[in-house]
Symmetry: C2
């Protein structure tokens, strides 16, 4: 034991955060204890609440503590009849930030990856199929990452949609191949949306 | 609002941590929600408990939730009669890690900095004076940082101890072991020259 039990425990616990090693966990702990207990306490409460109460949107699967996320709960977002399929909630934010899209989303929370046990059901494709049946959207915009897995997932969804009377498009490769969607700037994303092709 | 309220709140709260901006806060939030809710929940509890219960050691002022920290509570650590004075709990850990010291500590939790309102009482020198009177340590090792403020603080403490029958020493400054001379700054080199010992 290097410090007292509660201090040690906090330093250890902080290392569950991506990019936080022993050294920065220690710096964070001292910073909070010395200078910012109010924020530290708030963060503790935010974590406890979020971990317990945040679930998935009943319609699009993104993170939310309500039955529907803000986008799905907004009737205006249903008017275009477009559903943009992305891999993660961070991708939703990236596309929202581009300001070029006013339809809805479907969040796979991953991509097809048989080796990791992620098949169609694990990424919610049963749910997506039901959504297509029930909502009869005009267009499905496939905005999975331009990686091998993302492309394979897009192709799988395109095949699944054949003969269902829904236009299926793929965002254009303005997005650099091998890059991750959430790190692409808004202009590139806007271009990549407007340059989408039918599949 | 970019996400649901609880998710937004967590992303915002994480930014109280040093070195964490909006982007990494978002990445941390999704990582915890997607893959590690148990750790996220544990971290929440560790934060809440630490912020509420961690105070200062009655003897050395370092962080602890007990009346005495582990070092002060260990009678063996009092045998040498040495008290090492440092600026922060992280410095205690650094010295402990060296494995070369088995005395006790006194943690200033800062250094003299009149412009920031940090005078002798704010860095616990009243407490250090009482400790010298009551414990009559053999030696005070001043291990404040080799900065202008750290040196001034060390000098102030040395003056304060005059005529009290306690040996006061300052840790040596010089070229770090394994370091290359040409990359060491001039001030360090000057200290390392003036502090030279005969061989
Ligand atoms: Zn939704
Ligand atoms: Zn102590």
């Amino acid at each position: 034991m290097k410090f007292s039990p509660l201090v040690d425990e906090l330093i250890k616990s902080l290392q569950c955060l991506p990019g936080v090693g022993p050294r920065s966990a220690q710096r964070m702990t001292f910073q909070l204890l010395e200078r910012d207990r109010v924020s530290g306490h708030k963060l503790g409460e935010a974590l406890t609440k979020a971990m317990a109460d945040v679930g998935h949107c009943n319609r699009c699967r993104t993170f939310t503590e309500e039955p529907l996320c803000p986008v799905c709960a907004n009737p205006k977002r249903g008017e275009s009849g477009q559903v943009c399929v992305v891999e993660s909630p961070a991708d939703v934010l990236a596309i929202e930030t581009s300001g070029q899209y006013d339809g809805r989303y479907f969040v796979l929370m991953g991509h097809l990856s048989p080796l990791d046990g992620l098949g169609p059901d694990e990424i919610g494709l049963d749910k997506l199929e039901a959504l297509i049946r029930e909502e009869a959207p005009k267009e499905l915009i496939l905005a999975t990452n331009p990686t091998v897995e993302g492309e394979a997932t897009a192709q799988y969804i395109a095949d699944m949609c054949k003969g269902r009377g829904v236009r299926v498009s793929r965002i254009a490769h303005g997005v650099p191949v091998g890059g991750e969607l959430e790190y692409v700037d808004g202009t590139t994303l806007a271009l990549s949306l407007s340059g989408r092709r039918d599949l």
